[in-house]
C-alpha cells in the first residue's frame, strides 16, 4: 500500500514539475498585466501541433523543435497586444471576449489543418524508462521536468535581474508609477504578452516527446494552468512550483485511488476551493 502511495506521489511530482512549465506563460501574462489569457490552453495546443509539423517536415528532434516556433509565437503575442488588447485596456470583459474569439479561431485552425485524429511523434533522442522500485517513469518525462525547472529559473532570473524584467514587475505593482520612471508600459505589456505566448512553445515541444496532441488538448492544459496560477497567486515565479506540484500529486492520487476518468476532478475542485477561500493564492506576494 505504502509503495503504491509513494509511486503515485513520485509520478505526480514529476507531472507537477512539467505542469509548472505549462502554466509559466499564463503566469507571466497574469502577473504583469493582470489579465487572464483565456486562450492559453489553445496556444499550448497550437504549439504542440507546431512541434508535430516542424518535426514531421524537417526531421528535427522534438527537443529543439521549439526554436522556430518560439519567435513566431512571440510575434503573434506582440501583434495581439497592439492590435486588440491595447485597444480594450480597462475593459476586462471585452478582453476576455476577445481572447475567447482568438481561442475559437485557434481551435478551428487546428481542426482544419490537423484533422481530428490525435497526432503523435516517434520518440525523441531521449528514450527508455527509469525504474524506481516497481515504478517506471520514462526518461522523456524526467527530462521534461528538468527542462521545466531550468526554464523557470531562467525566467525568474530574467524578471528579477534585468531592467526589462524588473520593469515588468514594476508595471504590475503600479502602472502609473512605472510610467513616471520613464518605462513605456505599453511596450512592456506587449513584450510580456509576447513572452507569455513564446513560453508555451518549450513545454509544448517537450510534451510531444511522450504525448499526443489532439483538438481537445486545450481543455486539459487551459484549466490546469488556471488552477496553478490561482494556487500560486500573483507572485514571482517561485510560487508556481509548489502550486504545480500540489496539482500534479492531487491528480496522480485520484487517478490511482479513485478512477482515471476523474483525473481532472481534483484539479477543478482545488481550483474552485482556492479561489473561494484564498483568492490571492497560497504563495502570492500580495
Amino acid at each position: 500500500m505504502l509503495d503504491v502511495v509513494a509511486q503515485s506521489v513520485i509520478s505526480g511530482l514529476i507531472n507537477g514539475l512539467i505542469y509548472a512549465m505549462v502554466a509559466l506563460g499564463l503566469s507571466v501574462i497574469y502577473g504583469v498585466m493582470d489579465l487572464i489569457n483565456f486562450a492559453h490552453g489553445e496556444f499550448v495546443m497550437l504549439a504542440m501541433y507546431f512541434t508535430f509539423w516542424i518535426v514531421s517536415f524537417s526531421g528535427l528532434d522534438q527537443t529543439v523543435a521549439f526554436l522556430p516556433a518560439l519567435p513566431i509565437f512571440f510575434l503573434v503575442g506582440v501583434l495581439i497586444y497592439y492590435g486588440m488588447l491595447n485597444r480594450t485596456m480597462g475593459t476586462p470583459l471585452s478582453q476576455i471576449a476577445l481572447m475567447l474569439g482568438v481561442a475559437m479561431v485557434i481551435r478551428s485552425f487546428v481542426q482544419i489543418a490537423g484533422g481530428t485524429a490525435p497526432k503523435g511523434l516517434p520518440p525523441s533522442f531521449i528514450f527508455g524508462v527509469l525504474n524506481i522500485g516497481s515504478l517506471a517513469i520514462s526518461y522523456s518525462r524526467v527530462a521534461t521536468a528538468v527542462v521545466s525547472l531550468v526554464l523557470l529559473i531562467i525566467v525568474h532570473l530574467f524578471l528579477t535581474k534585468t531592467y526589462t524584467g524588473l520593469s515588468m514587475l514594476a508595471a504590475s505593482d503600479d502602472r502609473t508609477a512605472a510610467y513616471l520612471m520613464g518605462i513605456n508600459v505599453k511596450r512592456i505589456y506587449a513584450l510580456a504578452f509576447g513572452l507569455g505566448l513564446a513560453l508555451v512553445t518549450i513545454p509544448a515541444a517537450f510534451l510531444m516527446t511522450y504525448q499526443h496532441a489532439d483538438p481537445s488538448s486545450y481543455l486539459r492544459f487551459g484549466l490546469l494552468s488556471w488552477c496553478i496560477v490561482a494556487l500560486a497567486g500573483l507572485g514571482r515565479i517561485s510560487g508556481i512550483i509548489p502550486a504545480a506540484i500540489i496539482v500534479g500529486i492531487a491528480e496522480s492520487l485520484v487517478v490511482t485511488f479513485v478512477a482515471p476518468e476523474a483525473h481532472s476532478l481534483p484539479i477543478y475542485l482545488l481550483f474552485i476551493l482556492v479561489i473561494w477561500l484564498k483568492p490571492k493564492g497560497l504563495f502570492g506576494r500580495k
Binding site: 487572464i36 486588440m84 485597444r87 480594450t88 480597462g90 475593459t91 476586462p92 470583459l93 471585452s94 476576455i96 471576449a97 476577445l98 475567447l100 474569439g101 482568438v102 481561442a103 475559437m104 479561431v105 481551435r107 478551428s108 485552425f109 481542426q111 482544419i112 484533422g115 481530428t116 483538438p215 481543455l219 484549466l223 488556471w226 488552477c227 490561482a230 478512477a259 476518468e261 476523474a262 481532472s264 476532478l265 477543478y268 475542485l269 481550483f271 474552485i272 479561489i275 473561494w276 477561500l277 483568492p279
Partner: protein, 335 residues
C-alpha cells in the same frame, strides 16, 4: 425605447417571431434553426440579468442548464413525471444550488476574472461528476421516454413547431423579467453594482445580496429551461448538458450584444447563431471546423469596432427612424 413605448414595440416583435414558421413555409429544417436561435436567445437573455445588468461575468450557464435537464429528465425516466412539472422542480434545484454556491463565493469576495473562472470550472466539475455518478448520469446517453398518444405530457413532438413555440414562450417570459428588472429598484442596484462595485457599496447597496438575487433569477430561468432542453435533445448526457463551450458562447453573445440592454443579447444570438448554423450547414461538410473560426472572428471584429455591442446598431437605426426623437438609454459598455 422608453418604458411607455415598450408595449407596442414588444407586441410587434412577438408577432414577427411568432410568424416565423409561416414565413419559412413550415419548413422543418428552418424551424429547427429558428428554435436553436431561440434556445441561445433564452439562455443569453437570462444570462443578461447576471452578466449584463449586474455586471458579473458568469460563465456557468450550462451548470444550471444541466442540473435542470438532469432533474426533469430523470424525473421522467424514473417516475414518469411530466417535464412540465420536472422543469419547475429543476428550476428550484438549479437555483438552490446556484444560490448555495453563490453565497459562499460572494461571502469570500470572489469577483471579476475569478468569478468567471470558478463558474466555468463549476460546469466542468459537474460534467465529470455526472459522468462518474452512474445512478444519475453516466457516460451513456439516457434517452427520454416518448409517446405518440400523449406527446404533450412527454414533451416529445414529431415536429419542431411545438418546440419552437415553447422556446418562444420562455423567451417572452425571460424578456419580460429582464425588462421589469431593468426598471425596478433591484435593477438599479444591479446596474450600480455592474458599473462600479465599490461605488455601489458606498451608496449603501448590499452588493452580496444583489448579486445573489441576480444569480437566483438567472439560474432559475436557465434551470427551468434545462428541462425543455433535455426534451428538445430527447436525451441527457453530461457532455451535452454540462458543456463548457456552450456556456462560453452564451457569455460571448451577451457581451457582443451589448451589456445591460435587455434586447442586445437576443439580437446577438439571432445574428451570430444564424450565422453559425448557416456556416455549419454550408462548410460543415467541406471544411471541418471552419465555423468556429468565423464565429470567433466575428466576435473579435465586433468587440474591436463596435465595443458598445450590436444593440447600438439597432439603437442608431431606431434613432434615425425617429428623426432624433429617440433617447439614450441602456447602460453602455465603457470603452
Amino acid at each position: 425605447m422608453k418604458p411607455r413605448q415598450f408595449v407596442p414595440a414588444f407586441i410587434v416583435f412577438v408577432l414577427i417571431i411568432a410568424l416565423i414558421p409561416v414565413f419559412v413555409g413550415f419548413n422543418e429544417y428552418f424551424i429547427l434553426l429558428a428554435t436553436v436561435v431561440l434556445i441561445y436567445g433564452v439562455i443569453t437573455t437570462a444570462w443578461n440579468v447576471m452578466g449584463g445588468i449586474a455586471g458579473q461575468l458568469d460563465l456557468g450557464a450550462t451548470a444550471y442548464l444541466g442540473i435542470g435537464a438532469y432533474v426533469a429528465g430523470n424525473m421522467l425516466i424514473w417516475w414518469n413525471i411530466t417535464p412540465w412539472i420536472g422543469m419547475f422542480v429543476g428550476a428550484i434545484i438549479a437555483a438552490g444550488f446556484a444560490s448555495a454556491i453563490g453565497y459562499v463565493m460572494f461571502r469570500y469576495g470572489v469577483k471579476e476574472i475569478w468569478y468567471a473562472l470558478s463558474t466555468l470550472g463549476l460546469v466542468e466539475v459537474l460534467r465529470v461528476i455526472f459522468m462518474l455518478w452512474k445512478e444519475v448520469g453516466g457516460p451513456l446517453e439516457k434517452y427520454l421516454p416518448r409517446s405518440k398518444t400523449d406527446p404533450f405530457y412527454y414533451m416529445s413532438f414529431g415536429s419542431y413547431i411545438p418546440y419552437f413555440y415553447i422556446a418562444l414562450i420562455f423567451l417572452l417570459i425571460t424578456f419580460l423579467v429582464n425588462y421589469r428588472l431593468r426598471y425596478s429598484k433591484i435593477g438599479y442596484s444591479m446596474l450600480a453594482l455592474g458599473s462600479n462595485e465599490d461605488a455601489a457599496e458606498s451608496l449603501g447597496i448590499d452588493t452580496r445580496r444583489t448579486k445573489l438575487k441576480g444569480l437566483f433569477i438567472y439560474s432559475f430561468i436557465v434551470g427551468a429551461f434545462g428541462g425543455f432542453y433535455a426534451c428538445f435533445c430527447s436525451f441527457i448526457h453530461p457532455n451535452t448538458d454540462f458543456n463548457m463551450n456552450f456556456a462560453l458562447e452564451i457569455a460571448v453573445l451577451g457581451i457582443v450584444g451589448g451589456l445591460g440592454t435587455y434586447y442586445g443579447p437576443l439580437l446577438a444570438a439571432s445574428i451570430l447563431v444564424s450565422l453559425k448554423e448557416y456556416l455549419r450547414a454550408v462548410f460543415g461538410t467541406i471544411v471541418l471546423g471552419i465555423y468556429p473560426a468565423i464565429f470567433g472572428l466575428a466576435i473579435i471584429l465586433i468587440i474591436l469596432f463596435k465595443p458598445e455591442g450590436l444593440s447600438s446598431i439597432l439603437k442608431n437605426v431606431y434613432i434615425k427612424l425617429r428623426k432624433g426623437g429617440g433617447t439614450k438609454h441602456g447602460r453602455q459598455q465603457h470603452s
